[in-house]
Symmetry: C2
Subunit: 441 residues, 2 copies
């Protein structure tokens, strides 16, 4: 094995400097989820293949990693966290409802790897199962808003739409029954290929000029005024669309009461979301800069759980995409600069002096300070300072024979090389303050 | 799909009441790891098959889940966190050394499922790569000690041994070269089958009465006195054993300086640890009650990374077994009683009153209180109280038309059913205190 082996294609190691950032983000998510009453759930990485198949749409099904279990049962790696949730709700019918859970975990998709697309990536999901109320939908959006604000995002837009409205629009435009999905798949590409591209694709699919024209008339973004009020009038005869419009109006009202400013939300009729299983409100979050696609996505899926449990149980939720959120935060400079969590390196002079260093480190740790001891009984202080420097540790506590004899410690600030002597008994008190400002998930 | 699908055989869902306990434990681990200067690492669940194969021993290799990647490459699910670490160290040769990382993640083994044995389970590992010093070994043991004490374990024993001593003992007892591994595998069963069982097995394997007799003489636990001092004399001519004895003596000294009491450590010459790759000190932790096997296990493995990198890089580390630790803590009653993290449920009277409830919940959350809003605009207070009761939420904030008119909230204590009226403006201040004492990872 001469060439060192690599992580598998399309999958990544997260070295400590990256993991510190990821922990910071997931720590904020956990805090927000829990304050909103969502509780942690974990499910196996592996599910029976029949649990996964037929839930995401044909194209997605091809991307599920499948293999045989020991007993010859067909299994697969989970593709998202929503289908496992649906399976859990069906498997444990006695869970009190509404059941509000969050899950932060990796998922696997056998995609062709490319920039920003990986075969293993993490999702952070919050979902509410068992409520048809728009209180639940608004709460999910408030969770997304609170989490992104707490991470320091200055601006973003949560786009809202409703599958019921989209179906109403398709019907009103004259799309034949059963072909809405095909139309929506094309409309979904608006961001990528523009209006001309979508028009062309729809015409190529065989839809008439008149149908396509009416579609774009209805879906056009509003220059001013309220898009929902306009649609109410236009789709007056379509009960399902009226229902969907009412849902979004209620979501807007509840969002206001939850303290989510209007500037962060926008009704976007051309926003479709790819997955098959959505049935009501759908939402995603985008940032202007950097242009990276949606950083969160979700919606209401009132029939998915019924596939497993035999009776429909309503549900709504959202994914926060860890990878993209970390990327955007880096681009926007939203992370505190820290290569390491360790605040101080305690030097080791030699074997005889090592216990003194260990005692100092033990006291620092007991006081909550992240402290390393240099892990060799020889090597010289120069080498130890170079280690602190390479790791980005901001402080070094030098403990040589002179210091030990004088009951002192020499504290060296690695940023500017300044040093000062501190009485041994005062070191812990001095360094306790160093804990503040650290990244912590 | 009439019967609800299940989690795959041997794998488990962790519902919120279990996850809250697991988060509590992993949160303590993370805190301890980071205070000792270990930093987070994450690696893919999937590794190339050749990375995993041939590292754990023949029996273990059969338990690796393997399948083919899209491109036809043979891959497998990771079997532990140590081999992926070794691969990472080889793949990124520029990582500053010593490289101290922790990883908390699931691993997969195609075992026959039985009580306490699962096909997916979590390991919590801390390892130091790049130090030959016993400072590193002692530090790993101090991490284990600190983590278990912080979780509230009143008593446990960290058993220490050294593969170098075991090899010396085998040589001294007259075990033919190349057959030490077979002897050690039998000795490893001492806890399970007792001395008679091990003697029988060794005799059946063809070792002579005299060899087996000498072996047990050397490995016998010490009634009194220092086992290492005794061995120093007995194995005076065996350089490797002398080396191993010196290592354990140094580990003991450093543990003292790190504040680990002697009562928590014991030299146990019959403790072997199963894995092939250990080369020096080995350690595991056991509790007297409940008898559940080892709850941590680890040691020094100075050659494993060399398999990947082409040159030996020393390393030492330990796994803390999340599942067994949670089981022991439950048996010992070490968990605070809490089915939920949510402290208060805010009721919803009807659609018109819902925004008032949302505003109160938003204020509570902003103050750090985990607060749920009942997610339906109808249902009556009785149903909402039943929900709080089923979930184990300790407080309910009742907000009906009367309360809203009077600018008050009725706070109900679910434990005893007592209620009191609190001015709306004072509710948040009153409930802020409710945050303390919660479980949090």
């Amino acid at each position: 094995m001469a060439n060192p082996p690599q992580a598998p294609r399309g999958m990544r190691d997260f070295l400590p400097d990256r993991m510190i950032l990821r922990h910071h983000v997931t720590g904020v998510f956990r805090g927000v989820f829990e304050r909103y009453g969502f509780e942690p759930l974990d499910t196996p990485a592996v599910e029976y293949a029949e649990t996964l198949e037929g839930k995401y749409g044909e194209e997605a099904d091809k991307l599920i990693y499948k293999f045989e279990d020991r007993g010859g049962r067909r299994v697969g790696l989970r593709y998202d966290l929503t289908v496992p949730l649906a399976r859990v709700v069906a498997q444990y019918p006695d869970l009190p409802k509404p059941f509000k859970r969050y899950q932060i975990a990796p998922v696997w998709r056998a995609e062709r790897p490319q920039k920003g697309r990986y075969r293993e990536f993490w999702q952070c999901d919050a979902d509410t199962v068992g409520s048809t109320s728009m209180l639940a939908d608004a709460e999910i959006l408030a969770v997304v808003y609170t989490a992104l604000r707490e991470l320091g995002f200055p601006q973003f837009v949560m786009r809202l739409n409703n599958r019921k409205i989209l179906k109403g629009v398709a019907a009103f435009a004259g799309v034949p029954e059963g072909e809405e999905a095909s139309v929506l798949r094309s409309v979904d590409k608006l961001d990528k290929v523009g209006e001309v591209g979508v028009r062309t694709e729809l015409l190529e699919k065989g839809f008439g000029e008149d149908v396509v024209g009416r579609l774009f008339e209805l879906l056009a973004p509003e220059a001013s005024g309220d898009v929902l009020a306009r649609l109410r009038t236009q789709l007056v005869d379509n009960a399902e669309a009226q229902d969907g419009i009412g849902e979004l109006e209620q979501v807007r009202e509840y969002l206001g009461a939850l303290g989510v400013p209007e500037a962060f939300c926008r009704i976007d009729l051309a926003m479709v979301r790819g997955l098959d299983y959505y049935t009501g409100p759908i939402f995603e979050t985008v940032v202007e800069e950097p242009r990276i696609g949606s950083i969160t996505g979700g919606g209401r899926y009132d029939h998915l759980i019924g596939i497993f449990s035999g009776r429909d149980i309503p549900a709504v939720g959202s994914t926060l995409g860890l990878e993209r959120i970390v990327d955007v935060m880096e681009a926007l400079g939203l992370f505190p600069a820290a290569k390491t969590l360790t605040r101080v390196l305690v030097t080791v002079f030699d074997t005889a002096a090592a216990p003194e260093s260990l005692r100092l480190a033990a006291e620092l740790r007991a006081a909550g300070v992240c402290a390393e001891v240099y892990l060799a009984e020889k090597g010289g202080f120069r080498k130890q300072l170079a280690y602190a420097n390479a790791k980005g540790i901001p402080l070094v506590a030098l403990l040589g024979p002179d210091e030990i004899a004088r009951r002192e410690v020499t504290l060296r600030n690695m940023a500017d090389g300044s040093q000062e002597s501190v009485a041994r008994g005062e070191v812990v008190g001095r360094l306790r303050g160093e804990v503040v400002g650290r990244l912590r998930g």
